[in-house]
Symmetry: C2
Subunit: 469 residues, 2 copies
Amino acid sequence: MTFSPLTPELVVAFEGIVGPAHVLTAQRTEALQYETYGRDHTEDFHFAPDVVLRPGTTEEVSAIMRLCHEHRVPVTARGAGTGLSGGALPIHNGVVLSMERFNKILNIDERNLQVTTEPGVVTEALQNAVKEVGLFYPPDPASKGSCFLGGNLSQSSGGPKAVKYGTTRDYVLNLQVVLPNGDIIWTGANTLKYATGYNLTQLMVGSEGTLGIITRVVFRLLHYPQHNILMLVPFRQEAQAAEAVSAVFRAGIIPSGMEFMEREAIAWSSDYLKIPLTLPEDITAHLLIELDGQDLDQLYKEAEQVYGVLEKYDVGEILLADTAGQKDDLWKIRRNIGNSVRYNSVYKEEDTVVPRAELPTLLKGVKEIGQRYGFKSVCYGHAGDGNLHVNIIRGELTDEQWNVGLRQPISEIFQLCVKLGGTISGEHGIGLVQKPFMHIALAEANLNLMRGIKQVFDPHGILNPGKIF
Amino acid sequence: MTFSPLTPELVVAFEGIVGPAHVLTAQRTEALQYETYGRDHTEDFHFAPDVVLRPGTTEEVSAIMRLCHEHRVPVTARGAGTGLSGGALPIHNGVVLSMERFNKILNIDERNLQVTTEPGVVTEALQNAVKEVGLFYPPDPASKGSCFLGGNLSQSSGGPKAVKYGTTRDYVLNLQVVLPNGDIIWTGANTLKYATGYNLTQLMVGSEGTLGIITRVVFRLLHYPQHNILMLVPFRQEAQAAEAVSAVFRAGIIPSGMEFMEREAIAWSSDYLKIPLTLPEDITAHLLIELDGQDLDQLYKEAEQVYGVLEKYDVGEILLADTAGQKDDLWKIRRNIGNSVRYNSVYKEEDTVVPRAELPTLLKGVKEIGQRYGFKSVCYGHAGDGNLHVNIIRGELTDEQWNVGLRQPISEIFQLCVKLGGTISGEHGIGLVQKPFMHIALAEANLNLMRGIKQVFDPHGILNPGKIF
């Protein structure tokens, strides 16, 4: 794929579309601000865009795409830049299309339990807005306080509540999308059921900005669960924590959160946040278990059942969060593990996922591979979904070890995932950094189908080039 | 698209692949049996296959597809033939690929709450098998006693429980698929989360046998809900029944069934089944409401809330089903409405779907259009999903009226659906009979994307030609 350079004429044309204030170039933008548009939260990568555009309407996006399609200019859409696979990095330069001005919630439809929103709304802002009328938008990636809904859709994001409520994919009903040639479509209908041709809505979810630009979203909503119970369960043996996860589900309970945290994950995060937490010497891992629902008595019954399951394991003293403040603190600790690891060291995050009951085998394998290749990892994640985030710490590794040497052990981790019935990404996407490993999870025939689909949507290959495959 | 005729050499080659006993032709098969392979449950259509093949393994399917791909022979996959949109009709003749021998449940994985199965298993047989170990596969189309899982996947089937538990789409984790060129792929992984490139699994669901042949399926399962409460609620005004549907959801209750039945729907079905049912003169419609869960006390609480909502409407005496037998009877009546209508008259079934709260407007519109164009309709369906099955009764309509005259009013019904945020099929698919109406729901740009995707999977257009678009 060869692209055309960005010409001064094109910059003028962009100014005509979005207004000069929303056309940012390196020459006329404060350096630190401009640099942000070339980064996301993936390792320490940076790629400079030729120009950053901040459209405000679907029609502006359409006009931009039409021009770029015609002139073969790469376009990388960008949400809040919190991605962990490099999906928003403009590796072929060109246009970064920042969706930050698509920040309006358009309609909360209480009659139909739906919301129509722009994609540049922060996930938590949507959650708060619908909560005000008693409604619930469950998907809650760790970055929910800053990430955008559009990014969640592009990466098929999950979060702790996915274990009970499903991921972003399970809430989207309909998408307005600008295709690379500038055409504006709606992918489906605002209905709970849909059997009207190929499901373009579901195809867009997880397509990482390579097929079209999402400009509007219709999500379904639930009623906000009135009550919850949160417990932090310390384990003396890591493997037992992983085993207890599937035991809880096999007892017929579906927690609204089932998070696994290695000792170091929880220790680093509580230090980073300066939230004190007692961590006895012999504790090697924790489960953070949340139950939620409309009826508190019912939740207490379920909590007793959970206790019954946990009794069979070698657990320390279970902390049952008493107050809203204590609950917030525990979730804050869980959500800031990634930040605290980043604060301690450059790291690579692998988003491994396996069938739930295979988690102990995966965890054991990761540690064994780490030992063999001499790297340290901090593991945590959405254990109820079999989704383990493996953070490989740079520490004292040389450039050579870091950039080249880790290829083989990471491949082995992914091969283990696939052998266990899993895959190489559960909720972060492939983006740039997992691309070299796609052949481990997918046959050449699968990749060819994906390339073919890409070609149908984007014949000139201008949208987020160089990602996924 | 031009296809090649079936040659005697090809028939011999097929015999070599599946064995002569599983190659059926009109010449050597009992007429009534052979004719079955040219029909489904859609109106009174019949198209004769040139040959019917009954493969027993994935490798046999692959070998058949490779041959047909090479020789440009149309292939129409067939499940149990219970489809309502003509999806399994071999309108270009050629091969009918009957999946009836793919009837084995391969592995119920209690540790991971998953099941691996062949697609020719009857839906209810799967439900019963997993129920024996306390597990639950929720999707339950009306034809669950005879339809195949593969058909459910192809049409994105729902059923009454979809309102709480989602449709077939929400349970499939991974599919083994034979592509038109004979390649065998798995579309994803056996995991609850998946962000590893374009979601081919979800693309296959609802693709109506036009992209590939499903040969194995991995579904996720739930724990079987121990208890349920079922109530039949008679309404004096049809519109109020439709209104009460969204009122129940807005009260924060999620029933496991929320079915709407016009007076005639329920009367015809109870007559057909010879299950007596008291139907006072002034009753025009019913809601069948089911609540389910693990805790009976909790269900009684919810039932009280439902009664509280219903009090606001002009309802007759609510029948609370006392025994398992009574519950079975009520569900049997609901599930046999389609059969009873078919028993009374040839009919066209429209699978309209709108956002839930728009149901009263849709129902009113359907009746108004019927009055204007002089046809009678019997309406019923999954009201909780906004999914209304409109059965247009042939009655005394002439061939001209039936075949041509109904185009315009059906178009108007679908236009109303789309205006209300809905679409032209919720769970039956497009197949043959809804194809002429696709442009009402979808823009040309959408249809072009679908055609492009079809071309990627099936460059010679041999799989189920003439369907969807």
